[in-house]
Symmetry: C2
Subunit: 322 residues, 2 copies
């Protein structure tokens, strides 16, 4: 079967108009869809970006970067930020390259459609003239006939004049009728055999281009979204690497580096003998035996209970209630 | 350098407490981050899903499925819906499997930390007793000394008694001092050499487990997001296939199938001769020559200008002004 609108659908202008209108509506609807998709992507990207910003560790603790888990989290947030940027690019592509182009194209298509319709209007033909001349011819013929009947009954002097006059009038209107009928048939033939095929073919071309344009936009949209995936994949790999780079032992080691005082734990408190100046009857050996004196201190001693200590002792474990 | 908190950071309890507190804060902060990320994903998924729903073509035009571009758009929306479902799964995984688990773990860690701190409190030792007994000893020694000086000057009868009494008191307080000093030194030794190493080591273990848990959560989060990519890729491939399956020529062909009336364009309107009953002096051949009669109609004729037409003609091109 032929698919040519110009020859097959010559009498379906209203339906074609409805159909192509639906096509343009769809074009606008699809454009709206792409725009709304772009808006969703943009809002998503913004949320992701502000999440990344919100959770970035405050630099108040300047030693954050010593700890692998801090570094890993910072890297995760950085990657998240990159992913937000990719989504923003996608949103921009959907909006600028696809939706805006489609909007422009829709305007062009509407303008072209209008031009084609106007070409059709110029080619309209009218049957009014034919009807008028046809009726006049009919009336004149009847009058000529009546005149003929009258002349058959009355005197011959006036007879020929009246009949001949009416016949001449009928002859005139017949010529006019013939001329307008010929013109009509000529116009009608040109309309259905030349104009309609050309215009409808153009409408079909426009429709096919519109559909091709939609297909193109759909391809571009999917393609631009597909481009995000490898980039997103790289970000996720980087996040995974960041997580893998966390080393708990290294981190607790850093805590030692940061906080170690270098002091040894306090040794025994020594006995202070206030009885040195006393005359004593009891030997001091009794208590000296119990003292754990003579413990060797290989490292520097923590200056226990002295004032102006350079490093405070672990107070929390002691309740010095002096 | 040794990384053992138990031996290296014996005097840094406050700092360790601050550091591990920071660790727990981070755990809670990271949990919050994952939850917020999950919320963003969920809201994104919902928006995508409702976009897909909103643009699904109304079934009012039951012939939508005839047109490849309609089918392609429906497929695109379906894939978009699937992508929303994947994002919902991701949100659910982030929320339920990661954030909720972390919350539970944080509670456990806090409880464990409390237990460890309490164990530390039980092991506290006090210097108060030593100070008190030391002072008492000092005072008694001074009094004994004073008694000695006095007895050196006064009569010998009372001398021995007073001095001896004071000496005995000094001796008593010395014993008490020695006992409390020994107890203190013993407690202190046990504290710094046994308790602190054990407890601080446990705090370090907790810290290392906490960091390992964070690393695990980060890995899981990246992994669950990475799982979305191949699924998303398949959806985008399907969208691309849908776009590729659009066939403009097939679609305009379907329009012919749907709307074709099967009628031929109208032929010429025939001349109606009202002058048949007239006596005529002029030959009819003059106008018959111009008529394009005898055109052959191989297909069924469109019933031009007849009433009760089965198929209306293409009215838009004619302005019948009767």
């Amino acid at each position: 079967m032929s698919c040519n609108w110009g020859t097959e659908l010559w009498d379906q202008f209203d339906n074609l108009e409805k159909h192509t209108n639906w096509g343009i509506d769809f074009l606008e609807r699809y454009t709206k869809f792409v725009k709304e998709r772009a808006d969703i992507e943009l809002s998503y990207a913004k949320q992701i970006r502000s999440l990344s910003k919100k959770f970035h560790l405050k630099r108040s603790r300047e030693d954050d970067s010593r700890f692998t888990w801090c570094v890993a989290f910072a890297a995760t947030l950085q990657q998240l930020n990159d992913m937000a940027a990719q989504r923003e690019d996608l949103a921009d592509c959907l909006h600028t390259q696809i939706a805006c182009d489609l909007t422009r194209y829709t305007q062009e298509l509407k303008a072209e459609r209008k031009t084609v319709s106007q070409a059709g209007v110029q080619g309209r033909f009218h049957v009014l003239g034919v009807f008028q001349s046809k009726r006049r011819f009919e009336r004149d013929c009847k009058e000529a006939e009546r005149a003929q009947h009258v002349s058959d009954r009355i005197d011959l002097d006036n007879k020929a004049d009246g009949e001949k006059q009416k016949q001449q009038a009928a002859e005139e209107s017949r010529k006019e009728y013939v001329t307008s009928l010929n013109q009509f048939n000529q116009d009608q033939h040109q309309h259905y055999r030349t104009l309609v095929p050309v215009i409808y073919q153009r409408i079909q071309d426009m429709e096919e281009r519109r559909i091709e344009r939609i297909a193109e936009a759909m391809r571009s949209a999917a393609e631009s979204e597909r481009k995000v995936l490898p980039a997103a994949s790289r970000c996720l790999d980087a996040m995974m690497d960041a997580a893998e780079s966390i080393q708990p032992r290294k981190d607790t080691g850093h805590v030692v580096e940061v906080y170690k005082s270098g002091f040894d734990p306090p040794g025994d408190v020594e006995f202070e003998d206030y009885s040195a100046n006393m005359r004593r009857s009891i030997s001091e050996s009794s208590y000296l035996d119990n003292r754990a004196e003579g413990r060797k201190h290989s490292r520097k001693l923590w200056p226990f209970l002295r004032k102006n200590k350079t490093r405070p002792p672990d107070r929390s474990w002691q309740r010095v209630e002096e």
